[in-house]
Structure formats: C-alpha cells, structure tokens
C-alpha cells in the first residue's frame, strides 16, 4: 500500500461529505454539538482525531496549513499532524500564523488575531461542557435542548463560595450566540476572549466522542460569570524571557534542579516574530503591562 492508495487528505470523499454536512449544521446552530460518524483514523484517539477529520474535510489543494500544539509548531504531535497532511494532501505548510488559511490547534488560540480568510480547527477531548456535572449523554442533551444551564452556574457559584473566585483555569465554559453553552476545548481561560467576535471560522472536532461544533465568524461568545464576579483572564505575572512580551500566554520552564524557572511565550510563532522585529527581554519594561 503506497500513499497513493489513499484519497486527497486521507479521508474518502463520501466521508468528507458526511463531515461537511455536520460542519454546515454546526455553523447554522452555533455552539450545538452535532453528532457525526467519526472514523477510525491512523493516529490514536486523544491525539486529535476529531480535529484531523475536520481539517481533512475543509482542506483544499490551495490551502496553507499550520498546526500547533500547546501554542507551538514544534511539539511532536503538531509535527506529526503537519507531516500527515503534507504527505496525504500535499498542501503547503507554514508556521506563520498570518500565512495559514487553516490552523489546527490543540489547547491554544494564536496570539495574533485571525482574519476572515482563516479557519481555526480545535482538537477537542470532551465536547460536553456539562459532562463533569452530569455524566449521562441522554441527560446532558436534554439539558442543552431546554437551555437548562443552572447547574453550571451553581458549580461556578460553589467555586466562589469555597475559594472566593471561580476555580476553572482551562476549558472555561462559554455561551455562544446567546444560546448554547460550549466547552472551548482545554484552552487556558486567557484565550477565551479571543473566541468572541473572531473574524475566522472556528470549528471544533471531537473524534472519540463523535461530535462537531462551531463558532461562525463574528459571533458573540461570552465566558460564564456573575455580575459581582466578572470573568478574569490569567497569565503568569512576568514578561517573556526571550522576547519580553507582556501580553502573551506564558509557559513556565524549569531551568535547573534548584527551582530556577523562567517564563517564555507559549505561542512560538508570536515569540519568534517579535524577536525578529528586535524585541528583547529588556524591551519589556518599556511596554505597558498586561491588562
């Protein structure tokens, strides 16, 4: 079996049509989880099979693909998925956010804002925002149908009662277009505001759980909160040690066994571009601190 025995972008056209129908429905009903007949992919469940199927269904020969994992183009799984599409679809790949027409991501939204010409594809492990409050699918589907989201507010309220603030740091639930509550996938809540009124089409694929959902361009996305406890972003209180950015999400890197650590941009392309433009750690002090 050579590579040519597989169709463009691996999936057969029948399957792609089935996935595209699910995507269209997902776009028509923002935030609603559309069941789809997810296929077994040649990479394991949990490695992004949902995102890969969505990408395969939307990819055309002229697309330029970027794949990130944890914000970086160089993490092994991002490399592996990028290679997969370079091989099966022969599309051009890039690490530059603005060059890409399709960006597949795991756990981050790029720092640079996206345009109408781009599609952001999220890999989703558990698409159901209510799952950890109610394990049964039959029950959660009913709750979505009735927009019965009180239990989620109670959970957030209990957080505040116990801890004084909401104790959800990632996969922070958000309301889409004033109707469905969705799980934005395990992105840090720092990224949640980027989903709101985003110019790009955002597609979410969950392979193992067989669900696709979407945020159409310029859709209102509101992270759940309370009037007296408004939603807060979180980032480590430091500039990037490589480029000095004070507005990017940071990875903490442990540099020795005596507890020394440093903080660097999680978005590797953003960090590189800044350094190319001459930003240094020292330039951080000159910039306004992150709000």
């Amino acid at each position: 079996m050579s590579e040519r025995t597989y169709n463009f972008a691996y999936l057969d056209e029948q399957t792609k049509r089935m996935i595209r129908r699910a995507i269209l429905k997902a776009v028509a009903v923002p935030g609603y989880q559309v069941p789809f007949a997810s296929r077994e992919m040649p990479m394991p469940y949990g490695w992004g099979t949902g995102g890969v199927q969505v990408t395969a269904a939307v990819l055309g020969p002229n697309d330029v693909l970027k794949v990130i994992d944890q914000g970086s183009d160089d993490t092994t799984n991002a490399v592996s998925i990028r290679k997969f599409f370079a091989k099966t679809a022969g599309v051009r790949t890039t690490t530059r956010t603005e060059e890409a027409t399709v960006i597949q991501t795991r756990h981050r939204v790029p720092e640079q804002s996206l345009s109408e010409k781009q599609i952001l594809v999220f890999q989703v492990p558990i698409p159901e925002p209510l799952r950890f409050l109610e394990p049964r699918e039959t029950e959660t589907r009913r709750m979505h149908a009735l927009a019965e989201y009180g239990v989620m507010h109670v959970k957030l309220y209990e957080d505040i009662a116990h801890h004084g603030h909401i104790a959800t740091a990632y996969a922070y639930p958000a309301s889409v277009a004033g109707r469905y509550v969705m799980d934005p996938s395990p992105i840090p809540k720092f990224d949640n505001p980027k989903l709101d009124n985003c110019a790009a089409l955002q597609l979410f694929g969950a392979g193992r759980e067989k669900r696709i959902y979407a945020i159409p361009p310029h859709t209102k996305v509101v992270s759940l909160d309370f009037e007296d406890h408004p939603f807060e972003r979180y980032r480590h209180d430091a500039p990037c040690a490589l480029c000095g950015a004070t507005d990017s999400f940071l990875d903490e890197v442990i540099t020795d066994d005596r507890g020394s650590r440093m903080f660097v941009c999680s978005d590797s392309d953003y960090c590189e571009r800044r350094r190319e433009a001459g930003s240094t750690p020292q330039s951080a002090t000159a910039e306004a601190p992150h709000a």
């Binding site: 597989y6 057969d12 069941p35 789809f36 007949a37 997810s38 296929r39 077994e40 992919m41 040649p42 394991p44 469940y45 949990g46 490695w47 099979t49 994992d69 944890q70 970086s72 160089d74 993490t75 092994t76 799984n77 991002a78 490399v79 592996s80 290679k83 795991r106 756990h107 981050r108 492990p125 394990p135 699918e137 039959t138 801890h163 004084g164 603030h165 104790a167 740091a169 990632y170 996969a171 395990p186 992105i187 840090p188 720092f190 193992r208 067989k210 979180y234 980032r235 480590h236 040690a241 490589l242 999400f249 940071l250 990875d251 903490e252 890197v253 540099t255 660097v264 999680s266 960090c271």
Partner: protein, 366 residues
C-alpha cells in the same frame, strides 16, 4: 540559556527507526512469519479479528507482528485499515444452526440432538508447563465417524414448550444498524448494542460479566449452548437477484438461558443472552452473552442498579481503541492546562496563607 526545543521531526523519525529495530529483536533469531503467527498464535489472531471487526487472518497476523504482540495496538491497526474499505452491502444473516461445529457443549442438558462435542478446548487440560512442547511433534488427531445429524439450538428446543422467550422474528425490511457509519445514540437498539459488545474489549466484558455473577445485576445464567465452527456467508448482489455464497467464517456463539420471574401479564419463563464472535473466542462470547442479558434490564422491566445493566456506561467504555487512546493521550504535552492550573493553585495557596490565623508570638525560650 533556554532555547525553544526544535527538531521534533527528526526525533520522531529516529524514534520510529529505533522501534523498527527493537521490533526485530535479536537478529540471529529467525524472523517470525505471518503464517507462523496465523497458524500458531491462532487465538490471538482471532481476538484481533474480533475486536478489529475485520475477518482477515493474514492482515490480523501482520498487525500482531507490526504491534510487537501488543494485541490492542494490533486491533487499532486493523480498525484503521478497515475504516478505509468500501462498503458494498450487507450479507444475509449467517445461520449458526447450520454450523459445521468443531465444538458444541450445553451445560443445561446431559445429552441433546446433535450431541456434545468437546473439540479443541483447554477446559480439562492440567495447567502444567510442558517443556516438551518445544521439541515434540503432536500426534495426529483422532477422527470420529462423521454423522450428519441436525444440531438444533438448545434455545429453540426450549422455545417449543414456550419455556423461553422466542427470538423476535426477523424483519425483511429491517436495515442493519452500524455504529461505525452512524454515531451511537442512546437508548440503543439491541443490534447496535450487540455490535458494540462484539467489538468491545474482552477484558472489559469479562469483568462486567463476572460482576453480574457476583451480585451486581445478577441474572442467573446457564450456558445453554456454546458452539464453534464454520458457517457460510451468503450475499445477494442487487444486479444478480439471488443469493450466492461468498465465503465461510469460523464463529463462536454462546446462548445463555437466564431466569425471568414474569410480570402480572406474563408467565415466568427463561430469557436469553447472546454472544457471537469471529474465530474461537469462547470467553469473549460467554462474557458478551452475560452483559447482553444484563443490558436487557430496561426492556424486561428490571431495576437498573448495577454497572453491567447501565447501557451508557457499558457501551461508552467498551471500546479498547478509544479507551487506550484517551488514557494514553495523557502523555501528550499538557503544559498549557498545567500552567493555568499551577497559576490557580499558587493563587489559592497565597489566599489560604493570607487568611490563616497568625501564629502567636512565642516568647523567647531562654
């Protein structure tokens, strides 16, 4: 000085190269052939075909070799190949009543039409390691006089007296459910449940079946019948207009006979649990039958109180390719989530310490 890690691509290529080297093992030992795997690790091949949902001994043997004997990895390889195959139709239902049985046992009747056939079973072997196995050539098997007697299913014999529920009559127009083509929806019909169990992990079903025997959703089972043998597969191509045989499969079937106390409108009678799989897979088929019967709780008006009776729980967690993927994906990087959690824990600890009562000033001891 820290530099962002580069070179993931080369690391992956080199890891694959090392994997291939390790797979080969000591190069002075002859390479194992697919025929050896298929002929001598037969039951492993059967399991991979079963849970891989593809009846092809050669490909299953290749998958086992490629997976270095890791059967779940081999099942995954087979599944990922199967999903690319074109579907040209559904066969006619196989008729296990016409099976050429190499094994057929019933635990409910001492003798019955067609007789009891032990066949190639581990059941009465003494589990003593046998070093001679490495050198001795086994004797040829004893051949019995071939009697072509009918071998009716035990459950059909009981059904004649209405002592057991009858199988629902087949519907000619019924389409065949396929959870690989349509996402599973709850509540699921029995055809989809059985498909899910047939693809399900043997160990998972074994543990669930066992749990019903220990009281978690007890369903009083008897092994009504277990039969293993060859069945023909018939297919009716649309442009031909009649059925043609397209091959044969070795299958294992288990029918359990379970108690049912009856209701106000229905007399007490026995009920059925059903297990079926490719090749020789007795343990799997028996466990499947126990779990199938447990999952019929809702249909039979029984209380759903145990894990094995809980359709969503069982069907959502039976697939070992899904399970292994999601469990093992924990080794992928989670820096971002972890950093976000780390920030939260630090903040909560700072708040905890700020709120803690100040220790009283201790007087100097001396």
């Amino acid at each position: 000085m820290y530099v962002a890690a580069k070179g993931g691509e080369r690391a992956i290529d080199n890891a694959h190269r090392l994997l291939a080297h390790e797979r080969r093992g000591d190069r002075s030992v002859p390479d194992i052939t697919l025929a050896q795997i298929s002929e001598q690790l037969t039951l492993g091949v059967d399991r991979v075909m079963n849970e891989g949902s593809l009846y092809d001994r050669e490909l299953a043997a290749l998958a086992i070799k490629q997976a270095r004997g890791d059967l779940i990895e081999a099942i995954f390889l087979l599944r990922a190949y199967r999903t690319t195959l074109a579907r040209f139709g559904a066969s006619e239902p196989i008729d296990t009543g016409k099976m050429l049985a190499v094994r057929r046992v019933s635990a409910t009747f001492k003798d019955l039409p067609g007789g009891q056939i032990l066949g190639p079973t581990f059941d009465y072997t003494h589990r003593l390691l046998d070093p001679e196995l490495c050198t001795r050539v086994p004797e040829k098997p004893v051949r019995a006089r071939v009697e072509t007697t009918e071998m009716p299913r035990v459950t059909e014999l009981l059904a004649q007296d209405d002592l057991i529920e009858r199988s629902p009559p087949p519907r000619e127009d019924a389409s065949v459910g396929d959870l690989t083509q349509d996402p599973l929806d709850f509540p699921a019909d029995r055809d989809l449940r059985l498909q899910n169990l047939a693809r399900g992990d043997e160990g998972f079903l074994l543990a669930l079946g066992y749990s019903t025997q220990r009281g978690y959703g007890r369903n009083h089972p008897f092994a009504g019948e277990i039969r293993i043998g060859e069945v023909e597969v018939w297919f009716a191509p649309e442009d031909v207009g009649f059925d043609i045989p397209i091959g044969h499969l070795t299958m294992t079937e288990c029918q359990t006979i379970n108690q049912f106390r009856g209701t106000e409108t229905e007399a007490p009678k026995f009920t059925r649990g059903y297990g079926l799989g490719f090749g020789q897979c007795e343990r799997k088929a028996m466990a499947m039958a126990l779990v199938d019967r447990a999952l019929r709780a809702r249909e039979l008006g029984e209380d759903v109180v145990a894990p094995a009776q809980d359709e969503e729980f069982v069907l959502s967690h039976s697939d070992n390719v899904q399970a292994t993927g999601f469990v093992e994906h924990l080794k992928l990087p989670h820096y971002v989530d972890f950093q976000a959690e780390l920030g939260l824990v630090r903040r909560m600890r700072a708040e905890f310490e700020a709120a803690a009562p100040q220790p009283e000033m201790r007087e100097a001891a001396e």
